[in-house]
């Protein structure tokens, strides 16, 4: 089992590495049903008494207790569903009430500017929560070119993720179908709060 550890690449500061790791974890859990391998790695996590720490600790406990099959059923009920899942994790939906709306168009323009493309064989609109987490991580790590400076990260966050991400994660925490994904919601909500606060400090 080879795990790519790019978080410690020389020019990434400790806190930026931790931010990118959190975005990567959220992206991995939200983009498809988690594999047993991913669940096992999550099981090994721990956290302190902060909101984020408690969320991660709860996630580790639930990940240990769940099965790959149960996680897949839950993922599908939440995000895929019959017709639609319980939640619609898209910026356009949260900001306008409809899919494929202006927030998606704005995001696509911004992606072109930043050199980001939708992966091949992915047909989901790009303004879904998992892709936005991947984009934040990629901007921090420089996956799409050179690492994005703080101003670029802040503007991307404040435009595409900040205005609705917290609401989505809060919905995920409370969704009827959430067991494994309830603590994912707690982690996401706590982390985006930290991000918002941190970006405010440089504004």
């Amino acid at each position: 089992m080879a795990i790519a550890i790019t978080a410690n690449s020389a020019d990434l500061s400790e806190e930026d590495g931790l931010r990118a790791d959190l975005y990567d974890m959220l992206g991995a859990l939200l983009s498809r049903p988690p594999s047993r391998e991913l669940l096992d790695r999550v099981t090994g996590l721990n956290g302190d008494e902060s909101d984020l720490g408690r969320g991660v600790a709860a996630l580790a406990r639930v990940a240990k207790a769940t099965t790959e099959k149960a996680a897949e059923t839950e993922f599908n009920a939440l995000f895929v569903g019959l017709g639609r899942g319980e939640l619609l994790p898209y910026a356009s939906f949260y900001l306008t009430g409809f899919l494929h709306e202006k927030p998606l168009a704005l995001l696509r323009t911004e992606m072109t500017r930043l050199g980001i493309a939708r992966a091949e064989n992915v047909y989901e609109p790009e303004d879904n929560i998992a892709s936005l987490c991947e984009m934040m991580s990629g901007l921090i790590r420089g996956r799409f070119g050179t690492p994005a400076d703080l101003g670029t990260q802040r503007s991307f966050f404040n435009t595409h993720l900040g205005p609705w991400g917290g609401h989505f994660f809060s919905d995920l925490e409370q969704a009827k179908g959430s067991v494994l994904y309830a603590p994912v919601g707690s982690v996401g909500r706590a982390f985006l709060e930290i991000e918002r606060e941190a970006f405010r400090m440089t504004a």
Partner: protein, 59 residues
């Protein structure tokens, strides 16, 4: 600006070490990728697939 950046770094260090999740997920998400740069040559394009293949073949 220097002070602000330092404050931000201290804040983040404190807040995110609450729950380090290093290496839980590979840092190579699957839904987005770097946009491919249009090469002028029409004979060969190093697409993401080609790059992956070359990586795996250790060229």
């Amino acid at each position: 600006m220097g002070d602000k950046t330092a404050n931000r770094r201290d804040f983040l260090k404190l807040a995110t070490t609450a729950a380090p999740v290093a290496a839980v997920a590979a840092a190579t998400g699957t839904t987005v990728q770097a946009a491919e740069i249009e090469e002028h040559s029409d004979s060969y394009r190093e697409t993401e697939h080609v790059r992956k293949y070359l990586d795996s073949a250790r060229f």
